[in-house]
Symmetry: C2
Subunit: 160 residues, 2 copies
């Protein structure tokens, strides 16, 4: 199969996870699969409402599942297939997991039309802290820096 | 105690979680506590390397813990205290969890100085998809939209 054919194959599996999740009342209509060398290494669908976990978006669930399966906190050489363009939380999670490619089906505009409005969060992230909707204040920086020094001076740490 | 005194009290507890995490080799030097009515309802520290979970930042761990404890996917009326300004993933998670306030100690510039460079992700999120470092393509939108329709037409769904 060509890469395009593989992409369509795996995105359909991500979408199938989304469908299953909706039918089983597990959460919102989103699914993801993570693939390495054309084999699935992780998968997930939105579990927010069924597990009371606002971070349990499809991509986050799939990343956690894949990392467990490959026994690493990095997803080198992997492609993440997601039924919808990632929200800022999931995009951040993807950057931290460092897969090689992202393939998505629906856009964030499509998601907004069914009342999943990620754009609000995209807009907030770009604002300076004093202009954001959630009041945010800085306290205790000096105390906080002491832990950063502890880390900087630690010799046997595992970096990521 | 005044709000400022409470804030200093709880931010010190978040920083103490960070210190504990470094000393126990659980992950990076970051901690968070979540407080409602001046009582802790959730806490966490970075567990990325010890659990092979790139999403296990302090704020995400604390949000998952707090949501479990309050039995809800929303953190109404809560303040999240974090030892460092949240990365985009954590800021996204915070917006989805909808606490009332954020209190942080160190800045993202402080974090960059010890090689935790969130700015890269902040910069990427603002770029149009074709300009981002991780190659990203769209495939199967029509198939994806069918799940969105399924969701839109579902009558007994739990929205979030």
């Amino acid at each position: 199969m060509t890469q395009s054919e593989w992409d369509l194959h795996f995105i359909k599996l991500a979408i199938a996870r989304a469908t299953k999740g909706v039918k089983n009342e597990e959460g919102g209509p989103f699914g993801a699969v993570i693939v390495k060398d054309n084999k699935i290494v992780g998968e997930g669908n939105n579990l927010v409402t069924s597990t009371n976990d606002p971070t349990a978006h499809a991509e986050v669930v799939a990343i956690r599942n894949a990392c467990k399966n490959v026994n690493s906190f990095q997803l080198d050489g992997c492609t993440i297939y997601t039924s919808c363009e990632p929200c800022p939380m999931c995009l951040g999670a993807i950057y931290w997991a460092r897969p090689s490619r992202i393939v998505y089906a629906c856009t964030k505009q499509d998601a907004a039309k069914i009342d999943f409005d990620d754009q609000f969060i995209y807009d907030e992230i770009e604002l300076p802290i004093p202009q954001r909707k959630i009041p945010t204040v800085q306290v205790g920086r000096e105390e906080g820096l002491s832990v950063f020094r502890l880390w900087a001076e630690k010799e046997d740490k595992t970096e990521y």
